[in-house]
């Protein structure tokens, strides 16, 4: 029977020849991931089980990236719980501050998540790894604790929707714009419980970093996972990094989808998602027209903290200055990206422009630290959520965009199109 890529990966991990949407399965997980916010609860749950060892110390991965470097005493205590557990369990993949990166940038970079994998993470943006042709989904700490103990998790096989992107993107249009546009079309619960399969010629030409951005935000449409068919671009990325064997899965012709949506990317302009839902996306011109002045711009996160994102921001910022009274905070996704940005001279461009360049952290994206907003302040961020209070005070506002729009806006002090800054 014809199956989608998601169904095939789930079937392979459940030891079944086939699975159907709606079916409940127990499946083997290749990686179980948690961070400094979600791991402490998972660890407490795990320890209550009375099981001594995690199912596999290579495959339980703990990444303290949210409130690190420890922002206060409570955060330090939580990070310590994660560190002590990792040491006790002798986890291969615990990342200390100075080596840690934002989990969903770090794991692919380190070759720890691979095509065909089944990955669960106690973080909703775990769906990022779908960009590699893996099944990856966010779970809570208790589900994660169960997987840490047993190496398994239960799933309801999701229905799939097929999103077909065709055409050639215009100037300054990135993966971020395609996904913000898509969420605008679907709504924040448009793909609830479903798998978002993204394909078409525009995706086939999209580099890995753009694919990560798109899969990353599948959760913002409520999806269980986002997934992209693996191809040469995937293999080029994975070949030099993989730490173990991997498998390529492809949707069969005739696989069932709840519906298909065609998206002509040549008609998509750089997008801005207005407060306070990612579905409020509009062409940047709409924001420019309104003259939205900004107090802060953040470039980074698991959505847009990759080297290509920083290059794009640097291209716009080169030789320019950040607007007076505006804070521009640039955060690389990992230490490797940090180093690369130093070597390529990007950091020099950021610092000379008057930006803050930070160590990798989720920090401001979730209103944790490193750039919190006061009441009434407005920020434009390359992050993934603009909920009420997401970056600080409940009366602050967050807009979302790609790194080029963010950089241009930092220069002009208001939401701006890159074309206004770069000729």
């Amino acid at each position: 029977m014809a199956m989608t890529i998601t169904e095939k990966i789930l079937a392979a991990h459940a030891g079944c020849d086939e699975v159907r949407p709606g079916q409940l399965i127990e499946a083997r997980v290749d990686v179980a991931l948690a961070n400094d916010v979600t791991a402490p609860i998972a660890i407490a749950e795990f320890e209550q089980l009375g099981i001594e060892k995690v199912f596999d110390p290579d495959r339980v991965i703990l990444v303290p990236d949210h409130f690190t470097p420890n922002k206060d005493i409570n955060s330090a205590e939580q990070a310590k719980v994660v560190r002590d557990f990792s040491r006790r369990q002798q986890l291969t993949n615990y990342f200390e501050q100075g080596r840690v990166g934002i989990e969903h940038v770090l794991l692919p970079e380190q070759g720890l998540v691979l095509p065909g994998d089944l990955i669960i993470g106690a973080d909703s943006h775990t769906c990022t790894y779908g960009a590699l042709g893996a099944f990856a989904t966010g779970v809570g700490s208790t589900d994660l604790a169960a997987a840490m103990a047993t190496g398994k998790a239960w799933f309801k096989v999701p229905e799939s929707i097929k999103l077909v992107y065709h055409g050639t993107p215009g100037p300054w249009v990135e993966g971020k714009d395609l996904i913000l546009y898509t969420i605008g079309r679907l709504g924040v619960d448009g793909a609830l419980y479903q798998s978002m399969e993204m394909q078409g010629e525009a995706i086939e030409k999209l580099p890995m970093y753009g694919r990560f951005t798109m899969a990353n935000m599948a959760i913002e449409a409520g999806a269980k996972n986002g997934i992209i068919t693996p191809d040469e671009i995937t293999l080029d990325y994975v070949r030099e990094r993989s730490t173990r064997d991997y498998h390529l899965f492809f949707s069969d012709p005739g696989a069932e989808y709840v519906y298909e949506m065609d998206i002509d990317v040549s008609r998509i302009k750089p997008q801005v998602a207005f407060p306070s839902l990612p579905e409020n996306s509009r062409a940047v011109a709409a924001a420019v027209e309104q003259g939205i002045t900004l107090d802060q711009v953040v470039i980074g996160s698991c959505t847009n903290g990759r080297i290509e994102d920083l290059r794009l921001a640097a291209k716009v910022l080169q030789g320019k200055k950040v607007a007076p009274y505006l804070r521009l905070i640039v955060i690389p996704g990992t230490q490797a990206i940090y180093l690369q940005a130093v070597r390529e001279g990007l950091v020099e461009i950021f610092v000379e422009a008057g930006a803050v360049f930070s160590t990798p952290t989720c920090g401001p994206c979730l209103g944790g630290h490193m750039g919190i907003l006061a009441a009434g302040e407005k920020a434009l961020a390359t992050t993934n959520r603009n909920f009420v209070g997401r970056m600080g005070h409940p009366e602050s506002e967050v807009y979302l965009s790609n790194p080029a729009v963010a950089a241009a806006s930092a220069v002009l002090g208001r939401i701006a199109s890159p074309e206004e800054v770069v000729s």
Partner: protein, 165 residues
């Protein structure tokens, strides 16, 4: 279980940052989390609500983050159960795993108003609005989820399975 309490009505897409803002996630102590339950949706919620009250919301309740702190905060605040038109996927799982009773009931969510007195039977899914006299039927809980509840949550379910296998 049968719960009786006052309804607190919220709208669409109540996200986990509204349920428990990330700025308070530097602890996983349920009592600390409960102090800030629903703070960014209604800053006075914790002063107004009483133990045993019921949250009623429209579509996609609990969207956003995977933080289990969200159902933990609601439960520790003393909310008896949550009724919504629909729940976001991860929140739905987390609620069962942490033992917070939740019910999907579109018509009830649309009609119940803040302050209505409700009586809810989580076993049958029957929701009575004692203020208006109207009754509603929630979607039945899937058998597998019911098994989790009966076993006392996911961890207890796993313990039981590892002992019987």
């Amino acid at each position: 279980m049968i719960y009786q309490g006052k309804a607190w009505k919220f709208g669409d897409d109540v996200d986990t940052d509204a349920i428990i803002p990330a700025r308070y996630l530097n602890t996983s102590d349920p009592k600390e989390l409960a102090k800030h339950c629903m703070e960014d949706a209604d800053p006075e919620f914790m002063q107004k609500m009483r133990v045993g009250d019921i949250i009623v919301a429209d579509k996609n309740f609990g969207c956003g983050s995977s933080r289990e702190h969200a159902p933990m905060a609601i439960k520790a605040a003393g909310i008896a159960c949550v009724v919504a038109a629909t729940f976001a996927r991860i929140f739905y799982r987390n609620a069962f795993n942490t033992g917070l009773p939740i019910l999907e009931a579109g018509e009830a969510a649309a009609e119940i108003k803040s302050g209505d007195e409700l009586r809810i039977d989580t076993m049958t899914g029957r929701i009575e609005n004692l203020t208006t006299g109207k009754t509603y039927q929630a979607k039945p809980i899937p058998p597998f989820m019911q098994e989790l509840i009966d076993d006392g949550g996911l961890m207890a379910h796993i313990s039981k399975k590892s002992k019987t296998s």
